[in-house]
């Protein structure tokens, strides 16, 4: 059996300890823990469907080995909000019709969160660059951009939770 190591991960505020081999990716570890909202689209860092926040930074979890994330704090799209309290980004994505097949959306909302944390009032160029690691095949990004702009306005007015 390959060598395993105990890895400590905090995911959406919940602590986990698990023994993992060195080649196990953060994506595989998160999905094995039941965080299946983190999607696998390419396993190569091309599509961004697996994006999560690791200590506040958006990363492709498929390119990050779980050992590297040891001791880190992970936030998935579910950690941002849910039916009992939507994050302004989630709220805007729902109302703007930004969601079609939805498979890219968990990664895109996480990437958008990281973008708005860095640039609270993003320009069109910021939006394009901020999502350039996330592929969407359905929407043409039109309503994704408009939802992020709308959420940015809400967040700038202090609406961390709608």
């Amino acid at each position: 059996m390959p060598e395993t190591k105990d890895v400590n991960l905090t995911v959406n505020g919940r602590a986990h300890q698990l023994a993992l081999p060195s080649h196990r990716t953060l994506l595989e570890a998160l999905r094995a823990l039941g965080y299946v909202e983190v999607k696998s689209g390419c396993e190569k860092g091309d599509c961004g469907a697996c994006a999560v926040l690791l200590d506040g930074e958006a990363i492709d979890s498929c390119l990050t080995l779980a050992w590297i994330a040891d001791g880190g704090s992970v936030t998935t799209v579910k950690g941002l909000g849910g039916p009992d309290g939507a994050h302004p980004l989630q709220d805007a994505f729902i109302r703007e019709g930004s969601v079609q097949c939805g498979y890219c959306i968990p990664g895109i909302i996480v990437a958008a969160k990281a973008l708005l944390d860095e640039i609270p009032d993003p320009s069109d160029a910021d939006l394009r660059r901020g999502l350039s690691g996330n592929l969407c095949r359905c929407t043409g990004y039109v309503r994704i951009f408009s939802a992020i702009r709308e959420a940015a306005a809400v967040l700038r007015q202090g609406g961390e939770r709608a």
Partner: protein
């Protein structure tokens, strides 16, 4: 119906409470919160993990397969090869409700003695972990012997070519013979002949194929899978040799389909392994494997010869089409039929001659992809319209105007168009939205292009397409819709909620839709052919209307009026002329429940049926109806680097009736970017049949950095065959996009790239050739 009656219908004062509004789709919250479960997210106790061994070459004899070491690996439960499944074939054909099959679309589940394409499945493994399954797969040894392959359809049709499928590799061929083309060409002032070629496009949905299968307590094979077609349960059953009622397909919310999850996918393999192991078996394919798991878009070579009068009126048209089916026919005969009928575009051509062939090669099988032959035909016919305009010195839209087919006129196969044809007003609106032309900017040239189309919605008439839906009202006034339509992300289930809400006068949030289940829901047919809303929407409206009639019949007694004098809205039943006389919907439902009045209904909707076309002339009614519209694009071309940037992209379409304004605009916006990818950058690359671009960093789809200004313009003629006059939009929105961009590039650089995608090297080459022609004094524009 004439254009004037269409006008009257469009102008009619129809008041909708739910229909047409940009309401939040029923599937949106779960997808934004991350709570939606896709096929690859499903796990079960005691499940095994499957892997597929695939051929690493495109053409070979299989001399032997040694799976002993794989079978002996601890943790391996099952290894299946073609030797274990002699004569086991599976079909992709017509997964409708009739069970009829008109084409041979069978292919082996696992290759037997011969490999026909790169990536063809050779063996299946089921093991306790994914890692063990991979190790076992890699222990299987295949002894290959050489076998010549053929990799282009033109080569495949030559005498002596390696035989792949069909007689002489002809998978299907059609012809249209209409009017007198010789006479038409003799009358022409000018004859324009051009050849257009299009490439293989990959669907590149974000969710790779995934599923899980298990046997339930009744020994029924259950399969949860990402599919556009739950009706494949019949093909799975036939392939396994079990009765149809022993296979139950449950389609999950699908992470994108675009036709790529329409053909038979991994269902049969999952079913085989679940039966052999009597354990749940899960299979999730990698992105690289996904590239060879489903059929891609057919590449076409389309040769147009068009005779025109000086005023641009077409007098004759001769079109030759050649497409590549790859190694198995799958849905190629139908794709070719669409392209054949689509060849003349949305124009009236009385003297028409079309010949088309789709040939088998050792390339990856091609199958369904949004636009399904029509969009390739559109690239050619809309390029041709611009070439005609250029040669005659006329405005491209004006040439189109002089030829547009009109309501009441026959199309290519002689089918009389019954619905509105708003090509002109859509094209005009799209061009207007582009705004003023930009000034030149050094080596950067600007150009604009328009493309129009005629795209069918609904399936071929001789498939005898039907859809069923069940609508019921609970005693608390909430509504349930059950319909096995698959939801591939375009709002297929949500639109049914909106329709039921409209008919029953309740908010859409009061409606729950159960979709995509072949056993527990009434069968609805496929989410393909731009038919889901048309067919299932009509079935749902029919069922909901009968429930409404039952409820209003009882309410009429209460108010002492006729049921016709009552209406449902705002969760109330009320007298139409005096809304103060009303009752809560919930109370009415409780009264009906207490008296045993039927509060649910199962309805079937039948599309128009016909028996086929004349094989010699191609004449006959093929589709239920067509959608018309236009796409306009403005591009910037750097003449030094050849780089094309799309600046503005406008889709204007007569959608018939928007059911959900957000959703229909979403189709148009998404099409703009997907079509841009086809026009400019997407191409599956092969070397001797081997895919050499099997990742999203090698196969490039447009990203957020490539998004132009996209506008969606929705026109509503209310003349379609769908609910409330809706037309299909999933494919129509996509059909003209690439053609409009190709035309815009040609406009910018004054010469045309005839071979898609229009990559920088081709632009530079075309400009160089143009300069050489000018230097030689060659007059060809």
């Amino acid at each position: 119906m004439s254009d004037t009656t269409v006008e009257a219908a469009a102008a009619a004062n129809v008041v909708f409470r739910q229909i047409g509004r940009p309401l939040v789709r029923t599937d949106a919250p779960g997808k934004a919160f991350g709570t939606t479960i896709y096929a690859g997210d499903v796990v079960m106790p005691n499940m095994l993990h499957a892997k597929i061994l695939r051929a690493d070459r495109a053409s070979a004899r299989i001399l032997g397969i040694d799976a002993d070491r794989a079978r002996q690996l601890p943790g391996v439960h099952c290894v299946l090869t073609g030797l274990d499944l002699p004569d086991r074939q599976v079909v992709t054909d017509i997964p409708g409700q009739t069970g009829g099959k008109t084409k041979n679309t069978a292919q082996p589940i696992l290759a037997g003695d011969r490999v026909r394409f790169y990536g063809e499945p050779i063996a299946l493994v089921a093991a306790e972990t994914e890692d063990i399954a991979i190790a076992a797969r890699d222990l299987i040894e295949v002894a290959y012997g050489p076998l010549d392959g053929v990799f282009s359809p033109a080569e495949a049709l030559k005498p002596g070519a390696p035989q792949i499928e069909g007689e002489g590799n002809v998978v299907a061929a059609y012809k249209i013979r209409k009017g007198d083309v010789d006479k038409g060409f003799a009358e022409a002032d000018l004859v324009i002949e051009r050849t257009y070629t299009t490439q293989v496009q990959e669907q590149a949905f974000l969710e790779p194929e995934a599923g899980i299968a298990w046997l339930d307590d009744s020994d029924v094979i259950n399969i949860k899978v990402a599919t556009q077609v739950v009706e494949h349960f019949r093909s799975v059953a036939d392939a396994l040799g079990v009765p149809h009622n022993r296979v139950h397909v449950q389609a999950m919310y699908v992470g994108g389909g675009f036709g790529g999850k329409e053909g038979m996918g991994i269902e049969t393999m999952l079913a085989l392994l679940a039966v052999r192991t009597r354990r749940p078996v899960r299979l999730v394919v990698s992105r690289e494997e996904s590239f060879v798991t489903h059929g891609n878009r057919h590449p076409f070579r389309i040769r147009h010869r068009t005779g025109v009068k000086r005023d641009g009126k077409i007098t004759a048209m001769k079109v030759d089409l050649l497409a590549d089916s790859g190694a198995y026919s799958k849905l190629s005969p139908y794709v070719l039929l669409y392209a054949t009928i689509g060849a003349p575009g949305p124009y009236r051509v009385d003297n028409l001659h079309v010949d088309s062939v789709v040939a088998a090669t050792n390339n990856l099988p091609t199958c369904a992809f949004r636009g399904f032959g029509t969009m390739q035909a559109c690239v050619a016919n809309e390029g041709q319209m611009d070439e005609i305009a250029k040669a005659l010195g006329l405005d491209p839209l004006e040439v189109r105007r002089r030829n547009f087919i009109k309501t009441g006129e026959p199309n290519a196969t002689g089918q009389i168009i019954q619905s509105a044809v708003w090509s002109d007003r859509c094209a005009t609106a799209a061009l207007e939205a582009l705004g003023d032309r930009r000034p030149e900017d050094g080596p950067v040239k600007f150009g604009r292009g328009i493309a129009c189309y005629q795209q069918s919605y609904g399936r071929i008439r001789w498939f005898k397409d039907t859809s069923e839906a069940w609508v019921g009202v609970e005693v608390d006034g909430t509504v349930v819709v059950r319909c096995a339509v698959t939801d591939i992300g375009a709002g297929q289930s949500s639109s049914l909620a909106q329709i039921a809400a409209e008919v029953l006068g309740v908010p859409m949030t009061k409606v729950v839709v159960y979709f995509g289940d072949s056993m527990l829901n009434p069968l609805a047919g496929t989410s393909s052919a731009s038919r889901a809303l048309y067919m299932s929407g009509n079935a749902t409206k029919l069922a909901a209307t009968r429930v409404r009639q039952n409820l209003l019949g009882r309410a009429a007694q209460e108010f002492g009026v006729s049921p016709d004098d009552l209406d449902l809205g705002d969760s109330k039943v009320f007298v139409t002329d005096d809304p103060s006389r009303c009752m809560n919907f919930e109370r009415l439902v409780r009264i009906c429940a207490g008296e045993g009045i039927h509060r649910h209904d199962l309805a079937i909707f039948r599309a128009p049926f016909s028996e086929g076309i004349d094989p010699e002339t191609g004449q006959g009614e093929v589709f239920p109806d067509f959608t018309y519209g236009a796409h306009a694009a403005e591009v910037a071309v750097d003449t030094e680097t050849g780089e094309v940037t799309v600046l503005k992209s406008v889709g204007a379409h007569d959608v018939g009736q928007a059911i959900n304004m957000q959703a229909v605009k979403g189709q148009i916006e998404g099409s703009a970017l997907m079509g841009q990818g086809f026009a400019l950058c997407e191409q599956m690359l092969y070397r001797d049949g081997q895919v050499i671009s099997p990742s999203l960093s090698e196969y490039l789809i447009p990203t957020s950095e490539d998004v132009p200004e996209i506008l969606a313009i929705v026109l509503e003629s209310r003349s379609g065959l769908g609910p409330y006059g809706a037309k299909g939009m999933g494919e129509p929105a996509f059909a003209p996009v690439a053609a409009s961009i190709a035309n815009a590039v040609a406009d910018a650089i004054g010469t045309r790239v005839y071979d898609l995608p229009i990559t920088p090297d081709k632009v530079v080459k075309a400009l160089k050739e143009k300069a050489e022609r000018a230097a030689r004094g060659d007059g060809r524009k």
